[in-house]
Symmetry: C2
Amino acid sequence: MKPTIKDVAKHAGVSVATVSRIVNGLSGYSNETRDHVLKIIKELGYKPNEVARNLVNRKTNTIGVLVPKLSSSFSARLLQGIERVSHQNQYTVFVCNTDSSGTRTLEYLKLLSEKQVEGIVFASKYLTNEYYEAISSLQIPTVIVSSFSKRKELPFLKVNDEEAAYAATEYLIKKGHQRVAMISGPKKDLIAGLPRIIGYHRALSDHHFDLDENLMAYGDFTYTSGYRAIEQLLKKDPNVTAVFAASDEMALGVISYCYEKGIRIPDQLSVIGYDDTELAQMSTPPLTTVHQPIQKMGEKAVETLIKMGKGEKVESRFLPFSIIERLSTRTIR
Amino acid sequence: MKPTIKDVAKHAGVSVATVSRIVNGLSGYSNETRDHVLKIIKELGYKPNEVARNLVNRKTNTIGVLVPKLSSSFSARLLQGIERVSHQNQYTVFVCNTDSSGTRTLEYLKLLSEKQVEGIVFASKYLTNEYYEAISSLQIPTVIVSSFSKRKELPFLKVNDEEAAYAATEYLIKKGHQRVAMISGPKKDLIAGLPRIIGYHRALSDHHFDLDENLMAYGDFTYTSGYRAIEQLLKKDPNVTAVFAASDEMALGVISYCYEKGIRIPDQLSVIGYDDTELAQMSTPPLTTVHQPIQKMGEKAVETLIKMGKGEKVESRFLPFSIIERLSTRTIR
DNA sequence: CTGAAAGCGCTTACAG
DNA sequence: CTGAAAGCGCTTACAG
């Protein structure tokens, strides 16, 4: 059996109260008894039981993170940020993979609540009303990352997708491109789909280009779908000179297709991606893309949680994106 | 305040013992009282406090995972596997980023022990004696993933790096290559460095090739280091026709360098990587590489932990690797 | 079928 | 400076 505080007290010939005070660095004991108790603690290899502490303190120093897929680069970078600030503030983090499944999400929400976590980072897909209700009923500080809901009561942290897509499109236009295509995610994706399409459209009209369905292709953010999309696109309009892909993976699909077909990038076709995953800097040619500060989002999320725990007011925030210029785009004239 | 079991008992007019039995699905109550209590539970929104349960049951259903860097693709895939099997078995997982720092590792080990985790997955670099001592003193089931220590007492789960490197090299030799170079990680890396070099050497001598320092270059597993290494290598020996890179990232550095210099892959140079990260399938050309079943390792790790918790004997295991043939290598004659 | 009571391993007024 | 005691929110023999 592991030694408990009682064992220490008995061996040291003092009360558990005294041991507790010493362990927690409170006042109320002489240097002698402290040294003696510390010695016993060492001898016995005593370590306080956090579970018992958590129960009496009504505090677990634990937060939970819900992501749709742990193995994604997005989750990995987010977790890195979350863990950093959590550890800095003495919090430990539970990871939960929801698999984008509604039941798993609800299940985990319940579990986290029972485990008495003090905060939740929700980075799992669009926040439906169902999720929203479940979260509010928990009464646990929660922040939404890279997503949002129509209900404004929960703070979110994300990049403004529409603005970012606008910027990416405008970047291409300013490079002199006249036929700028877009490879989008699904229209019904209210986070990374529709808003980026709207941004693209708005940039085109602001620069007096007509909207043209021949310039649009749809994928599902994956490499393969990007490959197929560019094939279609070039069939519909061989004069496209630039394409904005709504994910780096799809952009890599484009690069790969072009490589196979002997279409030189950026000489014959410029491509800009979205996300700035590690892939982007290692592709050939290195990919120009929209950078999202994902790790930073994780850090901010935990900071927000901690503020909420203290009862401070917090607000939803758009985090700044930026365009990382690499070698997959060029100026045309 | 959140309702406790006492509140439920009071409102329902029964004892806490009865409520407890009902909540836990034990026997010992009539259908009537059950229905009544369940109704009260719903009305009050009662959820059992896991912390209190954990204390009396001396069981937390929690495991901890130590990784050197959360944002890596390796950690992401490992976590995916770990979470899957954990959740399947009603375990929740704490993630700990050690930053490859000794003090952080030791700190987290202590913390996990205080939090009463029931198992630890240690995926953090080479297991020094110091770590080994710390872990054994914890008396908590622990499995080492993708690493090992000289001390045999702790079960490990990894790919046999030497064999995998041997296979990669031999693959190239059997394709007819006569000048097969290697871009290795640091020699002093006892996990991913030296063993792979040894495998490479062994494959060469088994096929009657001389060892030649001109055929070796060293990097640190990163993209940039791969780029620099191939530059050096080609300077030392322009007749190299194939290279085995000890990581996919370094292999991508090679591809990138060759693209810039107009060296065609695989026509002029074959390259094989190691890891089979997502990068590999999305590169141009897609990268032939050594696949490690990382997610599977995570799954097996948790299964092993659970067995250990039950007092069953477990053993260290090498997991099978495989060579994923894509388009960056070709047969020469 | 049901409840009173002890106990899990701690912390914290309170009293001295 | 120190200890006895109550209590955190549960579970589980034990007795009826």
